[in-house]
């Protein structure tokens, strides 16, 4: 063994630089709040997190996946091997074998870099960022030439190359420049995705994601400090980068600006002033600005400019399409809701109609502004069993806001007929049901959400039931995933799952109706938020319907535009999100858009002009049931 050669020194310098850069990064993130991070656990799962969780997302774009595996994998392998060769000073036959491995690795990496460059050939795809990202292939190529050249030198010389030979000097210079650039870029530049990305994987705010589970529940805000009167009330929500715990800043920094979120965002597609990639970059820039000791505002306030326009926040439908597409596992929606919380709770700066909605919810415990006692107005003739009278039932049917709307009352009516026909023992809360709090929470009004949730939980605790069934994915998500943090643990089922089971078990049968072609529009809060894309499709199949899938469907479904209070904020755009979605539905040629959410129903049915008929899966199921000879009479009799 020999000591490091000149290339080895370059490599050592680069490694030292990288360590220094990590220190700089951690210094940068000190702006953020404290967080308890399980470093051991994070380190232990790192390989799995990267090769499994991250790669699952990356692989959805096969080109990008191939590109990254080759470029990054080859480079990392070549660097590691080169360290052994040049720093460790390995020589002899083993060195030849090692060198050939390095050459193979660099070759693979060069091919990957070629893919990087090819992807960025003009005209560069709109979603990709330019700037230093455009120089990345050159820097990588420089590093690879350095590695390749130094290795060839070792083989050729058969020992340590002459340090002051012009070729060695030239290679070292190239290596220093190339690796130096890459190391420099690991704090400010395209390579930060690797450094911050690793930290993000270890210190991620939703570690359940690495267990292959969907983790979409918003975290409750600790409001206890605010309930005690005192001179120094804590600030709620995000106002500056300092408002985020530091791992969240690391997460923003991990953004590789691939623009997948931008492609998936319905608001961006509609020409509304929201680009999730831009939002994250604005947060990154705000973090940079905060280094100077000044904490710049995220959103303009009191005449002081902010990094992000308020319209950007309110255009978000919270559909999580961006989160689903992000290979760096960034949680855009969490950031947006955190910023909304500050806007709503500290400033009261909620867009007009959303403000009215929040006020209505606070005053009436309903979004529609109706008396609680009127929730069953539509169902007088159905004589629904009431929990307060029954005390126990197998199923607690959660009606939600759909009970106040003429359109969605038809969905509920169909569902009630189906449950009755299948002999399901169910009851409703009637005037004891309050709004689940979804809208208030997404609009940033955590107080109202927790208030509603707490009181709903108190009500639910009084009764015995096995299962909550609801036709509203928003209530489904909130009750199932967000009530547990406040002490309410329930088995909650979306009606697509219930109906699918009832048809599977033979408790409901479908008759020979017209074998219509339908397209199914996945509700975000059922699909992406809860992973349920199969049950509704199975159900439609059992009804004898053929599904023609839309351009965006399943977990990558396009939002209807109605989630997260976006339809109330009503931020102007160039197009309407529901119009775009209906255009996709129309393109399938299906006569019917099957929906499974009252919000989607309203949004899609609000589209004017010729369009497929919008029907909830419960309505389709009832129609199929009624096609069974004699069933329509039986439904009537129930």
């Amino acid at each position: 063994m020999h000591g490091p050669d000149l290339a080895g020194i370059v490599l050592l310098l680069a490694a030292a630089g990288l360590v220094g850069q990590m220190v700089r990064l951690s210094w940068r993130w000190r702006v953020g709040g404290t967080a308890s991070v399980d470093w051991v656990g994070g380190l232990r799962r790192l390989a799995h997190a990267y090769f499994h969780t991250v790669h699952e997302v990356v692989a959805r774009d096969p080109y990008a996946s191939r590109m990254h595996v080759m470029a990054a994998g080859g480079l990392v392998a070549a660097l590691a091997l080169a360290f052994v060769l040049h720093v460790g000073g390995m020589r002899g036959r083993a060195a030849v074998a090692l060198a050939s491995l390095i050459l193979v690795s660099t070759a693979v990496s060069v091919a990957g870099v070629a893919l990087v460059a090819w992807r960025r050939r003009p005209p560069r795809p709109r979603r990709l960022t330019g700037g230093t990202f455009n120089l990345l292939p050159a820097a990588l190529l420089g590093a690879l030439v350095f590695l390749c050249g130094s290795t060839v030198q070792v083989i050729r010389v058969g020992g340590s190359p002459e340090a002051f030979a012009p070729s060695s000097m030239a290679l070292a210079l190239l290596g220093t420049i190339a690796l130096g650039t890459l190391v420099m870029w690991s704090v400010e530049g395209p390579m930060r995705h690797a450094t911050a990305g690793v930290v993000n994987l270890m210190a991620h705010s939703r570690p359940r994601r690495f267990q292959g589970r969907i983790d979409s529940a918003l975290k409750p805000l600790d409001l206890t400090g605010l309930r005690k009167p005192g001179p120094h009330l804590p600030i709620v929500g995000a106002v500056t980068p300092a408002s985020f715990p530091w791992p969240r800043l690391a997460q923003f920094d991990a953004c590789v600006q691939c623009g997948r979120c931008q492609e998936a965002c319905p608001a961006y597609a509609a020409g509304q002033p929201l680009n999730p990639k831009r939002v994250i970059q604005d947060l990154v820039e705000a973090t940079t600005a905060a280094q100077g000791g000044q904490s710049p505002l995220l959103i303009a306030e009191a005449g002081i400019g902010g990094a992000i326009a308020p319209e950007t926040l309110w255009a978000c439908t919270t559909c999580r399409a961006c989160v689903h597409e992000c290979p760096m596992l960034i949680e855009h929606v969490d950031a947006i809701v955190d910023m909304r919380r500050y806007q709503t709770l500290e400033l009261g700066a909620v867009p007009a109609k959303a403000a009215v909605a929040l006020e209505t919810i606070r005053d009436t415990d309903t979004v529609a502004g109706r008396a609680l006692g009127s929730r069953l107005d539509w169902a007088t003739d159905l004589k629904l069993p009431i929990m307060a009278e029954r005390r126990r039932a197998h199923v607690l049917l959660w009606l939600g806001e759909a009970a106040f709307d003429r359109r969605t009352q038809r969905t509920l009516r169909a569902l009630v007929h189906l449950l009755r026909h299948a002999d399901v023992d169910f009851a409703v809360l009637g005037d004891e049901e309050r709004d689940c709090g979804d809208l208030a929470r997404r609009l940033g009004d955590e107080f109202t959400f927790q208030d509603l949730a707490t009181r709903n939980i108190e009500t639910l605790e009084r009764y015995a039931f096995d299962l909550i069934v609801t036709a509203d994915p928003h209530a489904f998500h909130t009750l199932r995933n967000e009530y547990p943090a406040l002490g309410g643990h329930y088995r909650v089922e979306h009606h697509s799952v219930t109906l699918d089971r009832l048809f599977a078990d033979g408790r409901l049968r479908a008759g020979d109706g017209p074998a219509d072609v339908v397209t199914y529009h996945d509700p975000c809060y059922l699909g992406r938020y809860n992973g349920e894309v199969a049950a509704p499709r199975r159900l439609l199949g059992r009804l004898g319907l053929t599904i023609a899938e839309m351009e965006w469907s399943g977990l990558r479904s396009r939002c209807c535009g109605g989630g997260g209070g976006a339809s109330l904020a009503d931020v102007p755009g160039e197009r309407r999100i529901p119009d775009m979605r209906i255009a996709q539905a129309r393109a399938t040629g299906a006569a019917i858009v099957a929906v499974a959410c009252p919000t989607c129903t309203g949004m899609l049915e609000g589209v004017i002009g010729p369009r497929p008929v919008v029907l909830d899966i419960a309505e389709l199921a009832l129609a199929a049931l009624e096609a069974v000879p004699g069933a329509a009479e039986a439904v009537l009799a129930s």
């Binding site: 509609a270 020409g271 109609k353 009215v356 909605a357 209505t360 979004v367 529609a368 502004g369 109706r370 009127s374 107005d377 539509w378 007088t380 003739d381 159905l382 806001e401 759909a402 106040f404 709307d405 003429r406 359109r407 969605t408 009352q409 038809r410 809208l439 535009g561 109605g562 209070g565 976006a566 339809s567 109330l568 009503d570 931020v571 102007p572 755009g573 160039e574 197009r575 309407r576 999100i577 529901p578 119009d579 009252p598 919000t599 309203g602 949004m603 609000g606 589209v607 009537l636 009799a637």
Partner: protein, 694 residues
Amino acid sequence: MQSRTTPVPFLSGRLRMTDYEALLKPLKIRNLTLRNRMASTGHAAGLAEDGMPKDRYQLYHAEKARGGIGLTIFGGSSSVAVDSPLPFSQIDVSSDRIIPYFESFARRVHQYGAAVFCQLTHLGRRGHYASHNWLPLIGPSANREQAHRSYAKEMESWDFKRTIKAFGDAARRCEQGGLDGIEIIAAAHHLIDSFLSPVTNQRKDQYGGSLENRMRFGLEVFQSIREAVGDNFVVGLRMAGDEMMSGGLSAQDCLRVATAFGNSGLVDYISVYQAHGDNFANLSAMLPDMSYPPAAFLHLASAIKAEVDIPILHASAIRDVTTANRAIQDGHVDFVAMTRAHIADPHIMKKLQEGREDDIRQCVGANYCGDFAGSGGVKCVQNAATGHEAFMPHIHVPTTPRRKVVVVGGGPAGLEAARVAAERGHGVVLFEGESRLGGQINLAKTVPWRENMGGIVRWLESQIRKKGVDIRLGARADARAVQAERPDVVFVATGGSPAAPQIDGAHLGVSTWRILDGSVEPGSNVLVYDEMGLHSGSGCADFMAQRGAAVEVATPDREVGAETGHLTHVAYMRKLYEGNVIQTPNVKLSQAYMEGNSIVAVLKNEFTGAEEERVVDQLVFELGTLPNEDLYHALKPLSSNDGEVDLEALIENRPQTVNTNADGHFQLFRIGDAVMSRNVYAAIFEASRFMAQI
């Protein structure tokens, strides 16, 4: 940056002030909860058979329940006693024989989630002694009722006893039959309000004199009813908010009556309407037609609502759901009835709940239902299915095989044929020679107070446009054009042209059509000669009088406008008298000739043969139409059935299968005035009946 996100309906909260919330709100009456606040008031549908509400009657009301109504009240003026006459084929509740019919009635309505009441009464003096039992009529006093020209016997003490008991017994039968409640009518000069009104009650005993005494009989009736039925059974009162009669009950008096009954604890709701009906002029105020403004009498119900704590129901020219919702929302009443509106479209509430307000076939106020229910049962001028639910559906469903249907003519017959064909899933081409649809209805609606008739066309046109009918306006189809469509079925609905009198000098006159369509200016001194007694003659006379003409209407009939129907006739008479139109019945036009610049029309008395002359500057005649049948005859040899109709199959609602020409390519039928001069209802009914089997 101009478009915005479409707001989710239910997310808009308070911003949406009217979502028919008031109308869709359930209403509790005693222990009964109605699913919404829409009702149909008791009306004599003319459907009782042998005094019993059988299948046809039940299906007529079950359709309203299926259409989403909250409460349907059947059996207008159902009689509680054997001496209550049945002048408009009402229901007889005087024996237990009725109970099984009530049971199936209740079952049929309840299956669709609506509540059902029966209206009960003793008609007292309102009717004719020549009724089913030939018994003397009774009343508080022995005075005469004008409409039926009947006197009544002054009630004796045994009459009080048995009548009060009869109300209780009848109420019990309703409850036993499973009905949710009853409504007692104390209006229209039936027995109870004959006591209330000082015009009809001249008694000197404890039942006459003061208002308190005059209310005694009615309160005793309610007492008897309340004792006969259980606690959940609803008992309502239908009364006038103003008798609208000189010397009768004023609005103030009616308010006192309503307060006394309403606060007695015996009455669960009050249904308020108006007038007395002793004569036809007043009866038309009870059933206000298109000559009245919308919700014309809401103020009467509103006044009572302000004083009485039980639910108040009102019906009278509330023709659309917006008005209905507003009446409730603004606190005038607790629930509304749109009775005639439900005769036009029994699915109002269902369409409302489905967000299909545009599809509601709105009542135009033609009062065809009220005028002609007596002959063959309730019917609607624009809805052929009403009263025919057993064989004609209100909602057509697509059928197979899908046929290509060509309809020639866009009047009421052609429009209805096209509509039903399209609803049944057929491909339809509709030719109309004019630049707009509607045919003769476009003439009918030119009479100012009858412009609502245009609603019939508006709805039919909107429906066929929605259903994708290929409408060819300004296209007068000939046989070749029809054949070019390669039809399976052809309907010739080409209507008719005005018939002229067969007299010397007929050419000197013009038809009413040319006056009404504006192609001939009204003269200054006009004789309208009307042999039809329908709307065109009287309407044209009114039309010209309103434009300043001195008009005389001559007719061989016993009266002018004899065929317009007893309620509609009132409006015509009002207009003709107001326009100083001279009415000359019982004469026939025998000839016309020119004398100088004037026309001399010779009118011959139908009974004496005596002739009289009129010197006028314009002679207008109305003798109905003769069919436009050229196209029909041209198509006959090309058709498979030579235009032949299997009449038995038609009336038994079976498909037409005549096939007499193997070379024919399509079935051929003609409908409406293309066959013979008839009215709008006949045209629509015929089109519907044919088309429902194709």
